[in-house]
Symmetry: C2
Amino acid sequence: MTAMTREACVALDASDPLAAHRDEFVLPDGVIYLDGNSLGALPVRTAEHLQRVVTQEWGQGLIRSWNDAGWFEAPRTLGDRVGRLVGAGPGQVVVCDSTSVNMFKALTAALSLRPGRTAVVGDRDNFPTDLYIMQGASGSTHEHRLIAADGPTLADVLDEDVAAVVLTHVDYRTGRMYDMAAVTAQVHAAGALMIWDLCHSVGALPVDLDGCGADFAVGCTYKYVNGGPGSPAFIYVASEHQDAATQPLSGWHGHADPFAFTPDYEPAPGISRFLVGTPHLLSCAGLEASLEIWDRVDLGAVRTKSLALTDLFISLVEARVGEHVSVVTPREHAVRGSQVSLRHEDGYAPMQALIERGVIGDFRAPDLMRFGFTPLYVGYADVWDAVDVLAEVLTTEVWREPRYATRNAVT
Amino acid sequence: MTAMTREACVALDASDPLAAHRDEFVLPDGVIYLDGNSLGALPVRTAEHLQRVVTQEWGQGLIRSWNDAGWFEAPRTLGDRVGRLVGAGPGQVVVCDSTSVNMFKALTAALSLRPGRTAVVGDRDNFPTDLYIMQGASGSTHEHRLIAADGPTLADVLDEDVAAVVLTHVDYRTGRMYDMAAVTAQVHAAGALMIWDLCHSVGALPVDLDGCGADFAVGCTYKYVNGGPGSPAFIYVASEHQDAATQPLSGWHGHADPFAFTPDYEPAPGISRFLVGTPHLLSCAGLEASLEIWDRVDLGAVRTKSLALTDLFISLVEARVGEHVSVVTPREHAVRGSQVSLRHEDGYAPMQALIERGVIGDFRAPDLMRFGFTPLYVGYADVWDAVDVLAEVLTTEVWREPRYATRNAVT
C-alpha cells in the first residue's frame, strides 16, 4: 500500500464495481466528503421524489393519501426495506421517531421481558444518547454497570441480575466494532437481552440481526443510509419478543385498531406496537428515495470497498503524516467499521482547516479527527487527494492560524 | 342566515379580509376541502422551500448546515413561531417529535413536579392518544380518574391527590371547546398542573397559554397549521416549570452540552431539555414554509371567519337536511372550535359518497360526519356548494349503494 500512487487509485476507481453509484449522488464541486458517517450525501433522485410526494400525494391527494399513497403503512414498508440492510426478516423493523426515542422503547420493552432482574449494562463509550436514555429509562429502577475498553469487561459484569445490555455496535469515536454474534451469545448465556445501536453500522457494512439472535436494535437512517437530515430512525424487535414486550410510549399508531378511537390502549400485535404517533411523512419520503438505491446494492461489495478505502487511508496517513497523528481505529478488519479516526493534539483546528480546503470530516472531543468512508460515493482517488490536503494542513501547521479555533454549536 | 343565497356567499368571499390567503394554497380542481382539521392543505410556497432545503442546505451545505443553515436551532426558532399562535412568549415552545411523544414528556414532567400526588385526571372524550399515553406513562403508578360530558365533572374528581389534568382543548369528534382560562384556574385551585392538547386549536383560533397560566401544552402542526403530513409536533412548558421539571426521554439534544459527548446526562436549562433526538429537518422544513404564512395572519380575523363559516354551515344544514342529520357541535360560539360534526345513522357511507363528489370531510366512529373549516383557504361559497352536495347525497340516498360501504385503513 505504501507504494500506492494517485494513478493506481484512479485505476482502482475505474474497476470499482460500485463506481456507478457515485453518479446517483449530488456532491458539491471541490468537496471530498468524508462525513457521510454523520450526514449522508443527497441522492440525485431525492429532490424529484420529494417534489412528487409534496405536490401530488399531499397537494392533490390530501387526506386521501393516507390510504391511496401508502402513508399509513410507510413505517412498516420502509421498515422491511431497512430490515434487509441489517439482516432482519420482514415484520421486525419499523421506521419511526428518533434513535433516542426508539432506544427508550427498546430498553423499556427489554425490561418488561426481564421483570425480576435489577441491572442494566452499557459501555462507557456508547454513543452518549444510549447512556442518557439508559439513565432516563432505568436510572431510578436499575443498577447501571458500565464496561469500558480499559475494563471492566462484559464477563466481569454479566450475572443473573442483568436484564439487558445496550451497546453501540461501531464506536462513533474510534470506529471499533463489536463482534455482534459473539457478544449476543455471551449476553444470552447470562439470560439477559441484547440491544444494539446500529447508527454507525447500517449501510456501512453487512449486519445479521436475525442470524446473531439479537433481541432489539435501533439506528438512524441519515448517516450511511442517506435518508436526509433527521430522517426517521428504526427499531428492530425480534419476532419472538414482539407480542410479549410492552413499552410505555403507547401512542395511537401502536394501537391494535387506531381508527376505532377506543379509550383504552390495546397494543397492536407484532412490530406495530412500537409505533407511537403520526409518522413524519416528508422525512420518510427522503428515506424512501434513498432506499431505492439501497434495494439495488450488494452489502458485501460495500464492505469490501469500505475496508479497502480505510486500509488505503490508514497506510497513506501513516506514510505521510505519521509523526503528526496517531491512528486510533483498529487495523484488524473484523473489528473495524467504515471510518478512521486520527488523534491529534488539537484535532479541532486542523479539521476546520481541512473543511476550508474542501475535505469535510468532523471532530469529536477531546482530540479526534474523524473521517467516514461511504463506498457508494467515495472513491480511491478521493482518499489520495484527502491525504494530500491533510498533509499540507499538518506539515505547514497552517491550522495554528487563530481563525480555525472558532467553535461552532455543532462541531 | 336561512335566507342566505349563493350570491350572498360570493359577496361575503369578495369582502373577506382573509380572501387573499386562498391563493397561497394548492387546492385540487373540483375539490371542496373540509378536512383541514385532519391534514391541512399544501401552501404554494412549500414545494419551492423544500427544494431549496434539499438541494442547497442538504445537497451543497451537507454537514455544515447544522451550523450555517440553522438546523441545530430549528426546534427552538420554529418553536417560538408556533408559540405566537398559542399565546406563548419566547423560549417556552420547541418543535419536535410527535404529539404523543410530547404528551409523554409533558405528563411525566408534570408528575415530577407533583411527587406526592397519586392521581391523574383525563376526559373520556380526549383524543385517544392522550388517554393511551396517560395509561403508558402513569397507568401503573397513578390512579386514573376520567371525567365525561355526562359526568363525573372536573369538580367531582379534583382533590389534593391529583397531580395533573390532561384535556383535549377542542374535542376532535364534536368540536366542543373547553374554557381554557376557567379550567386551568380550577385545576390550579386544587394544586394540580394543567396539560392541554391543542391539536384542534392551534391555527384554528386564538389560544392564550401564558394568559391562562397553563403549565404544559402539546399539539400537532399538520392540521390547521398546514405543516405537511406528519410535520413535527410541539411542546409548551411554562417558564416557571422548565428548570425544575424532569422527563425520562433524556436524549442528547436535551443535554446541556450535546456535543461535549459526556457520559452523564445533564438536562439543558430551559425548554431545550424537552428535546430528545435529532430533529426531522425535512419535516421541519414543511412547517417552516407554512409558518411564513402564519407570521402574517391575524388570529382574531381567523376566529371571526371560522365562526361565520361554521354558523353558515350549521344553518344551511338545518334548513336543507335537518331531517337526515343532527348537529352535534355546540351552537354557542364560546365553546365551539372550527369544525362541525353531524350525526347520521351511517356516517361512513354518506361521507364516502361526498368524497367521491369532491367534498372532502371525514368520518369518526361510530356515526359522525366531520367537517373542518379552515379560514385561510375555505370560503363562504364553498360552504354553500358543500351543503348542496350533502343535500344531494342524503336526499337521494345514493350513499346506500354498496360500494360506499368499503372501509379503508384510515377512515
